[in-house]
């Protein structure tokens, strides 16, 4: 199970971006999204379900994602989320903002 992250909550505001990014790879269900983020971040980010589902609802409400019921590989009915064009635009925006932020942080850190 790896080293438990002392602060499993992801940096505020970035969760939406991570979920959007995950969905950009292709439609997925809630569990799949959580697993993907965990795996790819090498257990650094463990998405709490208490924040994942609110985030997914947020995407739906903002029209960035659509959800429909589908059957999984294990023959289980699951709700699958799919990125909308608006969601794609939003992702690009968030990435740009994030890059800007990262660069700014990096400049501050390197200035010493």
């Amino acid at each position: 199970m790896g080293t438990p992250n002392p602060n499993p909550e992801i940096l505020k505001g970035t969760l939406d971006m991570l979920v959007l990014k995950t969905l950009a790879r292709g439609p997925n269900h809630g569990y799949g999204i959580a697993q993907h983020i965990r795996r790819v971040s090498e257990e650094a980010f463990r998405v709490g379900e208490g924040s994942l589902y609110p985030a997914l609802q947020r995407l739906l409400v903002n029209g960035w994602a659509q959800a429909e019921w589908a059957v999984t590989e294990t023959n289980r009915k699951a709700r699958v989320y799919k990125l909308t064009p608006a969601g794609r635009r939003r992702l690009a925006e968030e990435v740009r903002e994030f890059d800007f932020l990262l660069a700014a942080i990096a400049r501050v850190m390197e200035s010493v």
Binding site: H29, G30, Y31, A34, Q35, G48, E49, G50, S51, L52, Y53, P54, L56, Q57, R58, L60, V61, N62, G63, W69, T74, R76, K77, A78, R79
Partner: protein, 855 residues
């Protein structure tokens, strides 16, 4: 977008919830499956998953917040709670809602009339810049009289102030409507008439210069006329209608909203002869309207006209001597006439009722707040914020206000439909009154404001009380006293105003008109052109009709604007130098008139059958004329000239009040109807034990089927109408005054009853210590009456102001009617005493034993 998605999601409601739960459950199952694949036992896997997952319902809750409106949901919850609370206290709820309902209803109904009368006269669209010019002649106390052609020409010649001017003259035509003779009302208007009112035709065109030729009979129809006679058929343009046996071709139809003058069915071109445009003071039967040029204010236009008149008076000594002037009024003022003052008064009265109602409900809620102290304290202690508490309390009162408001709007709807049926000189105006969306909005806003108004103080007070000790009760008492004071003051003003009006009305109604108005019915008809014996036959037919005691013909009839005014002269008599011209009123009557009206014949003889058209002209004079012009001589045999020629006076009759009950009329001369055949219409006057309206219609129809009958009314109705809106004003004010008085009494009673119940223990102790019941009563009575007396004092001051306004702008009430003030004050005081005495006495009857164990 976001809101839309939210709403969409929300609409899916319960399904959404189920899907979310389902999804979270699936998540958990997958997590478990992964753990099992990693080698855990199913039991451990379930536990691990549960640990990692945390609280599933919390996850669902947070998710739900994303698509719900948390604040909105909380308000909904409060709303449900408020509804339950209202239903648990049905009596209080009903009382409060009814109070608001009445205030809001009365206010909205009256404002709907005010709107028609003041803001939006006749519901027309473009009357803002329309002014009306009327003549004033100070010498004979004539104000706002119709114009002659000269004033029209003058107003038309002021293009710097007005961009268009028009003159209008009333017309009445005989019109055959499906074989039945009717009287059609309309006007002759100059070409710019419709332009002045900013109107466009609904169909066809309005008048053009070519319509001005005498032989061009063009007519513009009112929308209603077009609908009823042509079924709204566009091909009506170019067709003809026959008015007074003369064909007129239809050139246009006015818009449906154009309802001026009220009741007008058609307009024809008005041709003013050059002579008419030059003779000032002659043929004064025009109404002159003008539209203000853009950028010219009404006041500037008035100034312009006044400057012109000043110049005119400087150059024309005769005009200056009689005090001639032109008065320019806004169209709304012209239309509203004397309705405006009374309506504002009523509106103010309704507002006072609403405010006293609010004070009353606030008092009620404060009283109830005592019993809710505990509930609020608990809610505060388990974590409710002050804002949440106040929000909930305000929501409760808003809900009460809205319930009252909705009921009030229903009441207003009812009231408006009742009011439009009231018989008034301006009834055609009131018939247009209706509730529109703006008024509904006004009513709703009023209800919500009342809700906040009566909810705020109790809410804040309740919050304060539940947070601190019972010490703040004294502040509540102060509020309650203030509310009682306000209610008593409001009630006092309203009741005093009502009583003053009723007194003046009563005094007027005691006045005898000089004839017997009971069982008299009057109806006008148009004289047929080619039927010389018609009037004789009609009178016989009327007299022969069943139930008719006596019948006569006359023109005009009393209380239809009075007799025809005219100057007169007396043979062999000259006016004294400086004496104003002799003016009198004339009536043209058939032989049975005096007997039918029961006007006493004092000397000489009545008009008789022998006074035919061919016989020498004779007349009767009334006592006023006899006393003034023949003080020490016999008027019989003297000659007087007013109409046609010298007429020999054959009799003297009693004086009659024929315009209003308050004013005596001018000297009156009665001529035989057949000897002065100048008029196109006449009236039947019938004294009958039965209702005679149908009798008259029948008799006229049998005598000549082509004669229209109109304006059928009993003499009582005519007299009632001469009292005008005062009757309605007095009736409505009585209701308002009564209600506010009732509210004040209930309010005071409620406060004292509550004080007594709160202090039961104290009363018990005092009685055990030997206090007498009388002392207990006195204590509470004193406390309650203090607020009441203060209210009376406040009300008296306000009433003095109201009354001075009333005396100056409305009717002839005494300027300071001390007796009325004192009587009303005494009456209210008695009521307050009763309201205070009842609960106080209950206090004095408290059993000390029981009281000590109380609470």
């Amino acid at each position: 977008m976001k809101l839309w998605n939210r709403l969409l999601l929300r609409l899916r409601g319960g399904r959404l919830e189920a899907e979310l739960n389902d999804e979270i459950l699936l998540h958990r199952e997958m997590l478990e499956a992964d753990f099992i694949r990693a080698g855990m036992t199913p039991r451990d896997a379930a536990q691990a998953a549960a640990r990692q997952f945390g609280n599933p319902s919390a996850a669902a809750d947070f998710s739900r917040d994303e698509w719900s409106f948390p604040r909105f949901d909380a308000v909904l919850k409060d709303l449900r709670f408020a509804c339950r609370l209202m239903l648990r206290n049905p009596l209080l709820t009903c009382a409060a809602a009814l109070t608001v309902a009445f205030g809001v209803g009365a206010n909205t109904a009256i404002l709907s009339m005010l709107e028609i009368v003041l803001l939006n006269p006749l519901g027309m669209r473009h009357t803002d810049g329309v002014m009306v010019a009327r003549v004033r002649i100070d010498k004979i106390q004539m104000r706002r009289a119709p114009d002659s052609g000269v004033e029209f020409r003058e107003i038309q010649s002021m293009p710097d102030a007005f961009c268009a001017a028009a003159a209008m003259e009333n017309r009445a035509w005989n019109y055959q409507n499906g074989g039945q003779a009717t009287r059609l009302l309309g006007q002759a208007v100059t070409p710019d008439f419709f332009r002045v009112f900013g109107e466009d035709p609904a169909l066809g065109r309005f008048f053009a210069p070519e319509d001005r030729q005498e032989d061009q009979h063009s007519v513009v129809l009112a929308y209603a006329m077009w609908q009823s006679q042509f079924g709204g058929d566009p091909s009506a343009i170019g067709r003809k209608i026959v008015l007074d046996d003369q064909p007129y071709s239809i050139v246009g139809v006015a818009a449906a909203e154009f309802l001026f003058p009220a009741g007008a069915q058609a307009w024809i071109p008005l041709v003013l002869s050059p002579a008419r445009l030059q003779q000032r003071g002659m043929n004064m039967d025009l109404a002159v309207f003008a539209r203000l040029r853009n950028g010219v204010s009404p006041a500037q236009a008035v100034g312009r006209v006044n400057r012109y008149v000043a110049g005119l008076l400087a150059s024309t000594a005769d005009l200056a001597k009689v005090g001639y002037g032109i008065e320019l009024d806004r169209f709304a003022v012209y239309v509203a006439g004397d309705l405006r003052g009374p309506l504002w008064l009523l509106w103010a009265a309704a507002l006072v009722v609403l405010l006293t109602g609010c004070a009353n409900v606030a008092g009620l809620l404060l009283t109830r707040s005592a019993s809710r102290r505990r509930e609020i304290a608990i809610r505060l202690s388990v974590g409710a914020t002050r804002w949440q508490i106040v929000r909930q309390l305000l929501l409760e009162s808003l809900l009460l206000g809205m319930a009252g408001g909705v009921a009030g709007l229903c009441m207003a709807k009812l009231a408006v439909s009742l009011l439009t049926r009231v018989s008034l000189p301006g009834r055609q105006l009131l018939a247009l009154v209706s509730l529109n969306h703006r008024l509904l909005l006004y009513g709703v806003a009023l209800a919500m404001i009342s809700g906040l108004l009566f909810g705020l103080v109790p809410a804040l007070q309740l919050l304060r009380e539940s947070q601190t000790s019972a010490m703040v009760r004294s502040r509540r008492r102060r509020f309650q006293d203030a509310f009682v004071t306000a209610q008593v003051a409001g009630a006092f003003v309203l009741v005093v105003t009502t009583v003053l009006l009723l007194r003046s009305l009563w005094a007027v109604q005691q006045i005898q008109p000089g004839f017997d108005p009971q069982h008299l019915t009057t109806a006008f008809f148009t004289k047929p052109k080619n039927d010389p014996g018609f009037q004789d036959r009609l009178q016989s037919a009327l007299q022969a009709s069943p139930g008719v005691e006596s019948a006569a013909l006359a023109y005009p009839v009393p209380f239809d604007g009075g007799g025809l005014t005219s100057g007169f002269s007396i043979r062999d008599r000259q006016r004294q130098p400086g004496e104003p011209e002799w003016h009198g009123e004339a009536y043209f009557v058939s032989p049975e008139y005096l007997r039918t009206m029961r006007i006493p014949l004092l000397r000489g003889r009545d008009i008789s059958e022998t006074d035919t058209a061919a016989a020498p002209l004779v007349c009767l004079i009334d006592r006023r004329l006899a006393e003034r012009f023949f003080p020490n001589q016999d008027p019989i045999g003297q000659q007087i000239s007013m109409y046609r020629d010298w007429a020999r006076i054959v009799g003297v009759v009693g004086t009659v009040r024929a315009t209003t009950l308050e004013e005596g009329s001018r000297p009156v001369v009665y001529y035989p109807l057949v000897q002065v055949p100048f008029f196109t219409q006449s009236a039947a006057v019938v004294r009958s034990g039965l209702s005679a309206a149908k009798t008259i219609r029948e008799a006229v129809r049998r005598t000549n089927g082509s004669v229209p009958v109109f304006d059928v009314r009993t003499m009582q109705e005519r007299i009632g109408e001469s009292l005008g809106i005062r009757r309605i004003l007095a009736a409505l004010l009585s209701v308002f005054g009564g209600i506010s008085l009732l509210l004040a009494t209930i309010g005071l009673y409620g406060v004292i009853a509550q004080v007594v119940s709160e202090r039961t223990q104290e009363i018990g102790i005092r009685m055990t210590l030997g206090a007498q019941p009388a002392q207990i009563v006195a204590q509470f009575a004193r406390q309650g009456l203090r607020a009441g007396l203060f209210g009376l004092a406040l009300g008296a001051v306000a009433a003095v102001y109201t009354q001075s306004w009333l005396a100056s702008s409305l009717y002839h009430t005494q300027s300071l009617d001390v007796a009325t003030f004192a009587a009303v004050a005494a009456g209210i005081l008695l009521l307050l005493l009763a309201a205070v005495w009842w609960p106080s006495r209950k206090a004095s009857k408290i059993d000390p034993q029981a009281a000590l164990r109380y609470e």
